[in-house]
Assembly symmetry: C2
Homo-oligomer: 328 residues x 2
């Protein structure tokens, strides 16, 4: 800026006024614009924003193993929904990858260090260090999902996992299935635990604990593992509720390998209505998650907080219609 002022023969204050949109005479403006072009000056937006106490950036974090994020198209759809809303408000979404303890530690510093004005946080579990930093700093944030230890007053957005799981299990049972199992993934997340609760509620007294296979993640490999376990425990199994579409895709692969027909021998239902659901053979009957809308509303809640509004207490739950295709 010093060089621009010298080249234009004006004070640095006048240069600053041109850059920041204040009043200067037409002649001074023309001289300064020519000088800017001459010296190749680029305003440092980071510096300017810092003076304004803002970065115009919002972090997007998914607290799941990255291998899982990469194969879960829903998470991508949530991110695109959030990006669209932030972009139209001229905010930059910065997606931060959490792949190690070192990443977590560095990111907590990044979040508290003035690089972002807010955050959208997906899939937090209780006791996550990133959740703790965000709540301790009172960084404007929205959670997608609802970790058990989320402080009152911090907004969250999600779906009714209990009700949705109950509804699709009831629908599966209504096709005449007698021995229905569940591949229950990620029960350390609120979503995973709630889907298992909904499954239990739907079966009521017909629920058998040994027909629940617990697997760690919402992914294809977990689906294969869970399906093998269920068939070992109950070879006459005729129905399966898989906790996500990726899990269901893994289950279908095992059923195919073992020569079981779907839906003839075994009816299979998933959860998410992600692109997986239309690519399996047969296509999956599943619960539709409005992933883009979840992301859009999460971003909107961050922007409202940045605009000085206090979020309403409690969370927002979006509707989840059942999509019935060919797998059950």
């Amino acid at each position: 800026m010093h060089d621009v002022a010298a080249a234009a023969g004006v004070s640095r204050g006048t240069v600053s006024r041109v850059i920041n949109g204040g009043y200067v005479s037409g002649a001074a403006r023309a001289a300064i614009e020519a000088a800017i072009a001459e010296v190749g000056y680029v305003p440092n937006t980071a510096a300017r924003n810092l003076v304004m106490q803002r970065s115009q950036a919002v972090a997007f974090l998914v607290l799941e193993p990255p291998s899982l994020i990469l194969e879960d198209p829903n998470i991508g759809a949530i991110m695109l929904g959030a990006n669209a809303v932030l972009s139209s408000a001229d905010y930059q979404l910065v997606n931060l990858v959490v792949d190690s303890a070192r990443d977590t530690e560095r990111i907590t510093k990044y979040l508290s260090g003035g690089f972002v004005d807010g955050a959208v946080i997906v899939s937090a579990r209780a006791n996550d260090p990133i959740t703790r930093v965000v709540t301790d700093l009172a960084l404007p944030a929205t959670f997608v999902g609802h970790p058990a230890d989320l402080k009152q007053g911090i907004p969250f957005i999600g779906i009714d996992n209990v009700g949705s799981a109950r509804a699709i299990t009831e629908r599966l049972a209504a096709t005449g299935r007698k021995r229905i199992g569940m591949i229950a993934a990620a029960v350390d997340r609120d979503s995973g635990a709630d889907r298992l609760t909904g499954f239990r509620q739907a079966l009521g007294r017909r629920f058998k604990p040994n027909l629940v296979a617990h697997v760690p993640f919402y992914d294809y490999a977990s689906g294969m593992e869970g399906m093998r376990q269920l068939l070992q425990r109950e070879p006459r199994l005729d129905g399966v509720f898989a906790a996500s579409d990726a899990v269901a895709a893994g289950a279908l692969q095992v059923l195919r390998e073992l020569g079981r027909s779907v839906p003839g021998d075994v009816g299979v239902v998933g959860f998410d209505d992600s692109p997986w659901a239309q690519r399996t053979d047969p296509a999956l009957s599943t619960v539709h998650q409005p992933a883009k809308e979840i992301g859009a509303q999460a971003a909107d809640l961050v922007l409202r907080q940045l605009g000085g509004k206090t979020p309403e207490p409690g969370g927002i739950l979006l509707p989840t219609p059942i999509v019935w295709r060919a797998s059950a």
Copy 2:
């Protein structure tokens, strides 16, 4: 910092020395640390880094439609490879989503505004505005792939797409196939154009232009579309080179729908060796791309430039072995 100094009864300079690791007496340090805890002071890392003229952050950008990024596990693997290298050097990878013209415009400002020290850029085409900003600013960057207009001296990293495509086509032809077609995706990218060139070279005088179906993207839907086109033009087709594994997965789906056996009636080969390759039925014969390694080396080249080293002229090409499975 003013509040901390007042609470501790010392000067702001002394507080600054404690925070920045300079020498102070043990008693002053204890008083200041107690005052920091009391007033809840958090150092603004963004401000401190700005004084040092650095952000300790590197942008990661993929210049492809986001829907495609979400279903291409290779891009995720490149990002994780880059993140691991940046993380161990205490740099924050910030992944920026490009989903609209507005995103592009805002991101060019972000890149030039001091928020990042460098960038890894994947899948740039010629004339991309983001490429132009990066090269105009001389921002330390590495390109994954090689856009036709990349300035001399800017490092890039990739694979020998021509040689790899030639090798897998030759291998497919060696299984006795007589009428081999190609589903050629994204020929507006260097990778897409080069894979088509390799296919042509392998077939030599047996190459028939009407057995190339051009499709826009490296994705499943493009694979379905391309396969339908090829079979319409040549119903007796007995071999297909699909430009990526996702494209091959779409092609397999169409062949299955039409009752053609693979590899019995038609041999199919892909490109990438992504998780898709092991989930198709039958599993794909394909070209292995060392995606994590590509990301790691791209990040390393950015860090070298940040360390003041001039990158070697030209690019780095990594080896791509053929992985032969069951689809051909």
